[in-house]
Amino acid sequence: MSLIVDTSKCKGCEECLASCPFDAIVMKEGKAIINEYCQVCMACVGACPEGAITEVEREAPKSADIDAHKGVWIFAEQRSGKVASVAYELLGMGRKLADALNTELSAVLFGATGSAAKELIRWGADKVYKSDDPIFEKFNDEPHAQLLTSLIREHKPEIVLAGATPLGRSFLPRVAARLRTGLTADCTGLAIDDNTRNLLQVRPAFGGNIMATILCPNNRPQMATVRPRVMKRGKYDEGRNGEVIPVKSEGLSSRTKVIETVKEVSDFTINLQDAEIIVSGGRGLGDPQGFKLIGELAGLLGGAVGSSRAAVDAGWIPYRHQVGQTGKTVCPKIYLACGISGAVQHLVGMQSSDIIIAINKNPEAPIFNVATYGIVGDLYEIVPLLIKKIKGIKGIA
């Protein structure tokens, strides 16, 4: 798909110029021309009073190879031998896609131990391709990319999904580059187009301001990374049978070397992007001690601790807790914002959370515009009270 200007309709009013977020429209001889920086965001289509800007489908030959690709694959990421939670979510979604396509669901597992492969089958996989090569004990991009690429070339799946985690988002691009196929980052929705059997990949863009549906119609496999905690797990079936296929891993090599893996001891250990509940603090905390209170509430709820950029910049909490445009994008079930005013840069990182609770002194704070529940008040009054009452409910003295 691309956009063109019908020069017979264009009156040269220049309305479209200002509408383009990419500065992709220029005037030439009194007519608008869309240049190479067009990202097909469609902003100009509505802006043109003459209706002179239209979409054109691009014609690209379908690769003859497309029909040879069958099956849905998920990459089951593991950390220290333990399969990451997102892998089970991918199996839940993968099962639906595979059923819609009437095909098999397979998982790919590198460097896992024990019963991990069997667990993947119980969560919905028909097959598990498994490598125990010791090279996978530490994460290096190249061997991951090498082996996944060669497995895809050999078995030709039509869809390959991985978690949009630091690991998945780092090595999957190398696989897509090698296979000359599309990779859609950080998807929040996936479905099959019944007519074409294409994968419809929905993802946020422009910091969550808009959503885009992405297609990869002419190349296979269709690849996507999927945001953790968005897809639901399927049904766990202890008696489910499947096939575990050991794969050969010859000739793998890595030019990067992991010298050391350091787990950072933090008062708040739960990973932000995996958390179902996030309690976040901002400038309104007033000082670094405020995070003790935030941490206590988060701990009580079994959640993670987040923060606004202001609190990170003030040095109250490490950067990896930062939510927002230059931090992490999160979408927990509950996001509790304490003393966060809600600058747009923060909102774009958390506004897709299921439930947002905002506690702020200022009734005009923009955080209330996205809140499900708003409390205007002093967080140092509200939060301790909340902690006390939750403890009461949970029977903790």
Binding site: M1, S19, P21, F22, D23, N35, E36, C38, C41, G46, R58, F139, P166, R169, R174, A176, A177, T181, L183, A185, D186, L200, A205, F206, G207, G208, N209, I210, M211, A212, I214, C216, S254, R255, T256, I259, T261, K263, N271, D274, P318, Y319, Q325, T326, G327, K333, I334, Q345, Q351, N369, A371, T372, Y373, G374, I375, I382, L385, L386, K389, I390
Partner: protein, 260 residues
């Protein structure tokens, strides 16, 4: 040491608004900025140059007006700037962008290539690693600290979910960097003067050796099918009363939806 820093001019997404009637982006008054992560990439490049010596080139693929971003890179301390611009690059997705960038970087024979973790308009974080693959060199993502850099190799901290990895690589290597890495410097007055007068090199398709089938819209495996606005959040409830009443109301709501 040949250092190449990739940068991108992006609309400040925090300023982007949606027209609720048409569901399209409102561009008016939205400034173009250097992708914030790229500022940290530039700073990292300058620091490496200061330590081991060498030459630093900033490169961008973008419209003619992206030249302004390159000048800012020179003002901060880059020695050279290269603008990749051609109609043939139109509508590139991450695959085609990475392919095109790699074809230009190939000619620069870089020892180290530094990119921001991701650009804030697309947030894909894919162009860095894909470019490394096209160049057939290793890459290290989410670099949050450079522990050591010498003439031949580099040792960095890579941010992971629950901590970090210390990772080492020989050159050439591509790094993608996070904000925590450094504090980008402000351009000096002298730097600004140099940037004003600098001649920005411009490369078009004819200046690189590339397969035209891999460029622009035609070379892009992914297509945007449609764009829509996320469902607006609705049904906000302000919880009124004394702090005690507010907290009780919140707990009732949370229990009602079985979150407590």
């Amino acid at each position: 040491m040949n250092i190449v820093v990739c940068m991108k001019q992006v609309p400040d997404t925090a300023e982007v608004k949606i027209n609720p009637e048409t569901g399209t982006l409102i561009r008016e008054g939205v400034p173009s900025i250097i992708n914030p992560f790229d500022m940290h990439a530039i700073e990292a490049g300058i620091q490496i140059k200061e330590k081991v010596g060498g030459k630093m080139t900033v490169i961008t693929m973008g419209p003619p007006q992206a030249e302004a971003a390159l000048r800012d890179g020179i003002a901060m301390g880059a020695d050279d700037a290269l603008l990749l611009s051609d109609r043939a690059f139109a509508g590139s997705d991450t695959w085609a962008t990475s392919y095109t960038l790699s074809k230009a970087i190939e000619k620069l024979s870089a020892d180290i290539i530094i990119c921001g973790k991701q650009a804030i308009d697309g947030d894909t974080a894919q162009v860095g690693p894909e470019t490394a693959e096209f160049l057939n060199i290793p890459h290290i993502s989410y670099v949050r600290k450079i522990e050591d850099v010498s003439e031949n190799s580099i040792r960095v901290q890579r941010m992971m979910d629950e901590g970090y990895d210390v990772v080492e690589s020989a050159f050439p290597v591509l790094l993608t960097v996070v904000k925590e890495l450094n504090e980008p410097r402000l351009p000096s007055l002298k730097g600004k003067m140099v940037a004003k007068k600098a001649v920005i090199r411009k490369w078009a398709l004819s200046d690189i050796t590339a397969d035209e089938n891999n460029l622009g819209l035609k070379g892009s495996p992914t297509q945007v099918k449609n764009i829509f606005t996320p469902e607006a959040r609705s049904g906000r409830r302000m919880l009124e009363g004394t702090p005690e009443e507010q907290v009780d109301a919140l707990i009732r709501e949370l229990r009602g939806i079985k979150c407590l």
